[in-house]
């Protein structure tokens, strides 16, 4: 598999949110606006890249039986780095994302990639895979956040588009419904399912 294919599969063919349905809690929880979605996506991408690289480097030293706990500790260390850095430099975004930053630890996407990809592949492939998956995840969150922001509060990235939106799209029902229809669109247009 060429590295380009390895990179692009995370964005379209195996998109974490629209195709694999991984990492759904932050996907639904933080995407009240496009900016929040992007912030969460980038934070997850950083953790994913870091954990994929470290796991790929030390995979030969980890005994098979304690594989999963070791991966979780590696992931948790990167999450702590993100948590502390964000708290120091981006306090507003940190407050908005709140609970979901420490919860990156239990994002199935991160552990899933460590287990299914990084523990079996080379350092370079794992790096490229993490980058592709992370960008695909960020893209999905930004699109979902953008749609909810446009419909819910009449804004995009904080810029006013029109007066008065349907508040339900910013609240919890909107998250489920918009994501449902985005998956339908994805099934219909991008990854045609027979």
């Amino acid at each position: 598999m060429s590295q380009w294919k390895n990179f692009s599969k995370g964005i379209f063919k195996e998109n974490a949110v629209f195709v694999l349905f991984l990492g759904l809690c932050p996907t639904l929880g933080v995407t009240t606006s496009a900016l929040n979605g992007l912030g969460m996506g980038l934070a997850t991408t950083f953790v994913l890249l870091g954990s994929n690289m470290v796991v790929a480097l030390i995979k030969n030293f980890i005994p098979d039986k304690v594989r999963i706990p070791s991966f979780i500790v590696i992931i948790a260390s990167f999450v702590t780095i993100v948590e502390l850095t964000m708290q120091a430099y981006l306090p507003d975004l940190f407050k908005q994302l709140g609970l979901f930053i420490p919860l990156i630890v239990v994002n199935c996407l991160v552990l899933g990639r460590a287990e299914a990809f990084a523990s079996k592949n080379t350092f370079l492939s794992s790096f490229v895979d993490g980058l592709g998956m992370g960008i695909g995840f960020s893209l999905a969150l930004t699109v979902l956040g953008g749609v909810r922001e446009i419909l819910g509060s009449g804004q995009i990235f904080g810029l006013d588009l029109y007066e008065g939106g349907m508040i339900a799209f910013v609240l919890s029902p909107g998250a489920f419904i918009v994501l449902g229809y985005l998956i339908v669109l994805n099934n219909k247009l991008i990854n045609k399912k027979s």
């Binding site: 349905f21 991984l22 759904l24 809690c25 639904l28 929880g29 999963i68 706990p69 979780i72 500790v73 948790a76 260390s77 999450v79 702590t80 948590e83 502390l84 609970l99 420490p102 919860l103 630890v105 239990v106 994002n107 199935c108 552990l111 339900a168 609240l171 919890s172 029902p173 909107g174 998250a175 489920f176 419904i177 994501l179 449902g180 229809y181 998956i183 339908v184 099934n187 219909k188 399912k193």
Partner: protein, 197 residues
């Protein structure tokens, strides 16, 4: 009174699944049948209550006592992972029928955000309806109420999905997309409880 507010708020108003979006992965994954969702609820309740008690004590008497709160995420996830493992081993020995019923769901719970989420909410002091310091009893009641809320949403949703399986749904919407739309409608119904506490 305080405890009643915690319970009603956690089950209906701030439902952990439909309002806070914690534990959505099992919500979509195992909600095909009512039976499996009952099993999942049992396992989550069990682990959530024990994990909340242990993490509360660790936070208070280890992390805060030594001023190392920044280790919280790592510590909590290790505690939950080992608890799940321990519960699994103990159940296997003590109650084989219960182990048979919960068995396959237990390993999944380590990566269930609801368990870690409740533990973090408790230590962050974010229990709705509690003013001032949170006691151990507060957090136990909060954990049980959240587990009940999780179970309620999961079982109702599984019932709905069982019916949808039998209906004629457009091809592109089959499976997960239609499940999300149903979850949205269910969340809308739960929004009706907003404001009662």
């Amino acid at each position: 009174m305080e405890y009643i507010i915690i319970i009603i708020s956690a089950i209906f108003v701030n439902n952990i699944l439909l309002a806070k979006f914690l534990g959505v992965c099992p919500f979509i994954g195992v909600s095909n049948k009512v039976e499996t969702s009952i099993g999942m609820t049992g396992a989550v309740t069990f682990v959530m209550v024990i994990a909340t008690i242990v993490t509360y004590l660790i936070q208070k008497y280890v992390l805060e006592a030594f001023g190392i709160q920044f280790m919280r995420t790592i510590t909590f996830i290790i505690i939950i992972a080992s608890l799940v493992q321990m519960v699994e081993i103990m159940l296997k020995k003590i109650s084989p029928p219960l182990y048979q019923a919960l068995g396959i769901f237990l390993p999944l719970i380590t990566t269930n955000c609801a368990v870690l989420g409740v533990a973090i909410m408790v230590t962050d002091g974010q229990i709705p309806g509690v003013e001032g310091t949170i006691t151990l009893l507060h957090s136990v009641v909060f954990a049980i109420a959240n587990a009940v809320g999780f179970g309620l949403a999961l079982i109702v949703f599984a019932g709905l999905r069982e019916h949808v399986e039998l209906t004629n749904v457009p091809k592109a919407m089959k499976g997960v997309p239609i499940a999300f739309i149903i979850a949205g409608l269910l969340a809308m119904a739960f929004m009706g409880f907003t404001g009662i506490v």
